[in-house]
Symmetry: C2
DNA sequence: CGGACTGTTGATCAAGGTCAACCTCTGTGG
DNA sequence: CCACAGAGGTTGACCTTGATCAACAGTCCG
C-alpha cells in the first residue's frame, strides 16, 4: 500500500457525482476534503479489506476499479458489486465486527479509507454533505436491488446486457461527458461471477450480443451500439441513477425532505 | 388502512431485537416511542408502498409479515426481502423521489410509517438510538448480500434451505426464546419468487429437504430437524446475525466505534 | 521459445423450466 | 348437506437453458 500523488479535490469523481445531485455551491468542499485525506494506492488484485477481518473502515475510490465479493470454500464466488471511481462502499459495514465480504482492486487504484468517526464528523458538520451521503447510499441500495432482480429473474442475455448497460451509465456519471464506449477492466470470469453464469456461457452470450448488433468490443473496450434495444433487453430504467429534478436542489435540505 | 389497538412499546419486536445489540438501560425508550406512534393495520395483500410512487416513508413492522418485491411487465417477479416483526425497511429509500419496489402485506399486519424527519430527530436526540439504527441497517445490508450470493451461486436445495434457515433465525431474534419451528405465512409461489426458481421446482425441492430429514412441514409450519446439516447445506453462518460481544455494549458509543 | 492466462468453440450433460393432469382444502351458495 | 369453484400444492413427461469437459487459439511476459 503505497502513498502516491494526491488527486486534487476538485477533480475527484466523487465530487463530480455529488454535483449531479446538489448544486456545487451548496456542497461543503472543505468538509468533504477531510474525508479524502490520506489517499492510498493499490495494484491489481491487491486486497483492501478481507472477509472475516474486523475492519472498521469504508473504502472510497478515486481512480481505478475494485470489486466486492463473497467466496465459498469450494471455489464458487459471487461478485456483489463493482466499485468505480467516485464510489463509496457501504458505510453501514462500519458497525459490524466481522466483515462479510472482500474488497479487492481489479486495476491499479487510488483510494481513501474513511473511518466512522471522520464520516460522522463530516455529516454532522455539513447537513448538505449528510444529505449527499444519504443519497449515495440510496443509489447503492437501489443498484443492489437491480442486481438481485437480475440474478433471480433474468436470463443470461438480459443479465449481461444489464451489467454492461449499468457499468456504462455509472461511468457516465463521473466522466467529462457521457460516452457509449468505455474500457472495462473486467475479465469474462468476473462477468461470470457477477452474473451467476459460467465463463463459457458468458463468452457465448457476449458473442450473441455482438452479433445482434447491440454491443461491440475489442480488447476490453465495450461499446453500446443500440441504446434503446439494449435498455429494453436489460429491463433497465432510463432514469437511473436518479438525478435531482432541476431547481429542487436549491431548496432541498435534510429538514425539508420529509 | 385501519387504526387498531396499539402494541405496548415494551412489547415491540423492534425493542426486543435492539436489546440483543445494546443493554436495555442504554436504549432511549421514549425517543424510540416517537417513531412508533400512529400504528396502522393492513390486511393480507394490501400494498403499503407501491413501485413508482414518490413515497417518502419507511415501514416499520410490529406484527405480521410483508414482502418487498420488484415486478416486470411480463409477470416475472423478484421478492427482494421478507419483512418480519421488528424489521425496519431501508430508510435510505427516503431520499429517492421514485420508489423502485413495492411493499405489500402477506398476512394481517400492524406497522408504523416513519417519516425522514422523525427518524432524523430521533437519532439526533439519542446517539445510542442512532447507533442502533445503524446496526439494523448493517444487518439488513448483510442479509441482502447473503440473498444475492444465494441467487447467483447456489443451487435450488441450497437456496431454499438457506431461506428457511434465515427466516427461522430472524424469528428467533424477536421470539420469547429460540424455536426450530415456526409458522411461515409464505406460499410456495413466494418461495419461488424469492429464490428465483419455478413453483414446481420449489415443491420438489421442499419434498427433497423433507425426505432427507432436514426439515418437516405441515400446513405452513416449518420445522428444522437437523440444524447442523441444514446450516451446512445452506452455507449459513451460525454467528448470524451478529450480536454484540458481551461487555462491549457497555462501552460502545458512536464516538468510540472508530 | 515456452508457459500462463484469457477467450473461443464444439460436444455432451444436467438442473431446472414448462405444460398438463390431478389432488386437497376451503369457502360459498343452492 | 352437498355441489362446485378456486387457490395452492404435487406429480409425471418432456424440453431448454446453461453447466461441464475438452481442445485450441491469441496474447502477454519471462
Amino acid at each position: 500500500m503505497r502513498h502516491g500523488p494526491e488527486l486534487a479535490l476538485e477533480q475527484l469523481p466523487l465530487l463530480r457525482k455529488l454535483r449531479l445531485f446538489m448544486p456545487a455551491r451548496l456542497l461543503d468542499i472543505a468538509t468533504l476534503g477531510a474525508l479524502v485525506s490520506r489517499q492510498r494506492r493499490a495494484d491489481t488484485d491487491e486486497v483492501l479489506i478481507s472477509e472475516g477481518s474486523p475492519s472498521r473502515a469504508a473504502v472510497l475510490i478515486h481512480e481505478g476499479w475494485a470489486i466486492r465479493y463473497r467466496s465459498f470454500d469450494d471455489g464458487r464466488r459471487q461478485i456483489l458489486e463493482f466499485m468505480l471511481p467516485g464510489d463509496f462502499c457501504d458505510p453501514s459495514s462500519f458497525i459490524s465486527y466481522q466483515t462479510d465480504s472482500t474488497i479487492a482492486a481489479i486495476s491499479p487504484i487510488q483510494y481513501s479509507l474513511v473511518n466512522p468517526q471522520s464520516l460522522l464528523d463530516a455529516v454532522t458538520t455539513s447537513p448538505t454533505l449528510g444529505l449527499s451521503m444519504w443519497w449515495l447510499e440510496s443509489q447503492r441500495a437501489s443498484m443492489m436491488r437491480n442486481h438481485m432482480t437480475a440474478l433471480g429473474r433474468m436470463n443470461a442475455r438480459e443479465r449481461i446486457g444489464y451489467l454492461i448497460w449499468q457499468l456504462t451509465h455509472r461511468l457516465d456519471l463521473v466522466a467529462e461527458r457521457p460516452s457509449p464506449s468505455y474500457r472495462l477492466p473486467v475479465s469474462q470470469e468476473m462477468i461470470a461471477d457477477a452474473t451467476g453464469l459460467s465463463v463459457v456461457h458468458v463468452s457465448r452470450t457476449l458473442a450473441w450480443l455482438q452479433q445482434e448488433g447491440l454491443i461491440d468490443r475489442h480488447n476490453h473496450t465495450y461499446t453500446i451500439l443500440c441504446t434503446d434495444r439494449l435498455r429494453e433487453l436489460a429491463h433497465a430504467n432510463a432514469e437511473w441513477p436518479q438525478r435531482l429534478p432541476a431547481g429542487l436542489g436549491e431548496t432541498m435540505t435534510l429538514a425539508k425532505i420529509s
